[in-house]
Symmetry: C2
Subunit: 329 residues, 2 copies
Amino acid sequence: MMTSNKVVDIKALAQDLRAGHRAALARAITLIESRRGDHQAAARDLVQALLPDTGKAVRVGITGSPGVGKSTTIDGLGMFLVERGHKVAVLAVDPSSARTGGSILGDKTRMARLAASERAYIRPSPASGTLGGVAAKTREAMLLCEAAGFDVVLVETVGIGQSETAVCDMTDFFLALMLPGAGDELQGIKKGLVELADMIAVNKADGDNIKRANIAAAEYRGALHILTPRSEHWHPPVVTYSALTGTGIDVLWRKILDHRTAMNASGEFASRRRQQQIKWMWSMLEQRMMARLRADASVRAKVKKIEAEVADGRVTPSLGAEQIAEMLR
Amino acid sequence: MMTSNKVVDIKALAQDLRAGHRAALARAITLIESRRGDHQAAARDLVQALLPDTGKAVRVGITGSPGVGKSTTIDGLGMFLVERGHKVAVLAVDPSSARTGGSILGDKTRMARLAASERAYIRPSPASGTLGGVAAKTREAMLLCEAAGFDVVLVETVGIGQSETAVCDMTDFFLALMLPGAGDELQGIKKGLVELADMIAVNKADGDNIKRANIAAAEYRGALHILTPRSEHWHPPVVTYSALTGTGIDVLWRKILDHRTAMNASGEFASRRRQQQIKWMWSMLEQRMMARLRADASVRAKVKKIEAEVADGRVTPSLGAEQIAEMLR
């Protein structure tokens, strides 16, 4: 009677998930994504129970503009890994996605081979209003995938606004995909990306495009050369590959492992993970506070009014903050 | 009797400050920087009262590594402006400064000419533990300078960690100073800087260094060329100048005005200011929350313990956030 009254049997679910049952993993992620209060409490217990089984995967963030061949690359890289005995989970952070409108990963035909593999698990981006919410759910989904035995997690992002930072903050290696330009029209690197990327990979280095891809790579290399790298132990390389033919996919993976070796040797790997966890906690706290301000319609309206007054220069930011702090009490 | 009991006569202070009395400005900034609760409340009232008189200055952030010639540049640019009828305030954001240890602007001999000018006001960085606190005080000091009639505010930063972002968030134009490299040893641009800079200026383009400065500028230009600019209406220029001889100082100012014209025309000027105000308010709110967590020694210790557990992977960030949220109630 007791257990049937509970929302979820956490212990059983955790056990099934640890055993690698895909259905259990899917159910657990759905629980995490639920907005129901009781589901959220259960999800918190579940993740806490599974925590000792997490953290062992290679976490890779992948970004690139539409048309760069992100899906084909993930499909190719994923299959390369699966064929070498890895278990690969593919997640996504796309705050603009809506479950109904079709998330960036909703259409599994985009990664046809990987979607058919038993050793791979593809999950579309959680649908939610805020980037913070989407990122939080994806981070916890990543932990669940690790507990279910996936040893490589690829997190895709569409690269709109701050979503790249969010994905970089939850992964060990951040890969930026680019296209070879045509003549002068070299594809620009978004400034924020330079800050984040651990590697730039130029796709479509095949057939007539090889020369163009090499030229693009040389230009990007020149640009990166002038920038001080984030770590003195890792200078982000620029490589070319072809998701279509598979040429160079192995290099992508080798560089990811080289980076891991270098970061482990310097101690930066562990410290980056620790920093990420702490940052994650504070951002969860911020979300909680923001959620409180959004929960009530009249509070929401007041916050909107204060924001407008501050933006118009009628109220100082300091006074505006005080007024909102009062509402949080 | 009533007024003598009050900490400060806000109305009189505001009036003196609006009239441009330097002593009133200095007293008002000291009030803002005070940690006493009654002082803080008075400062809030003062800034709110002066708000209609703020916002009219050209706000310029200036960064550069030690040795790049920041003080000489500010001295030269400031004098150039003063001689043309401007009133120039120089502020600083340096979270590492301590009032006693000597702030980066403490020694006014660093800007000897400007310090002697009646049309200039130089104020060292507020001394405080956190970047957020220092930045908040500098932002309010900037408003006071504007109300006192200063129509150009230069905000210097040492460029450590996030202080550059903080200064960029409170200014209209962000200027990065660089040195010409010697041969292959071109000075690297810090990645975060590329994201923020509205202009890169290579100093020490004088005497034997002119050629080297030009080469450095060309290289930086090449690197920036590949990066997508933040605004389609402004491609950050790379210029050379000499703070020593004064050559090119006029170009720095002209570019700042060009940027202002372009941003005004596109409507980005107003929207950037509005966004800055809103962001500022939320960051004040965050600081209030953090201050509450720091105020009590036992709370501080608990937060530290939770952070360590989260970093070690013993507690999920979600649960950690919940525990801290409880303490904030």
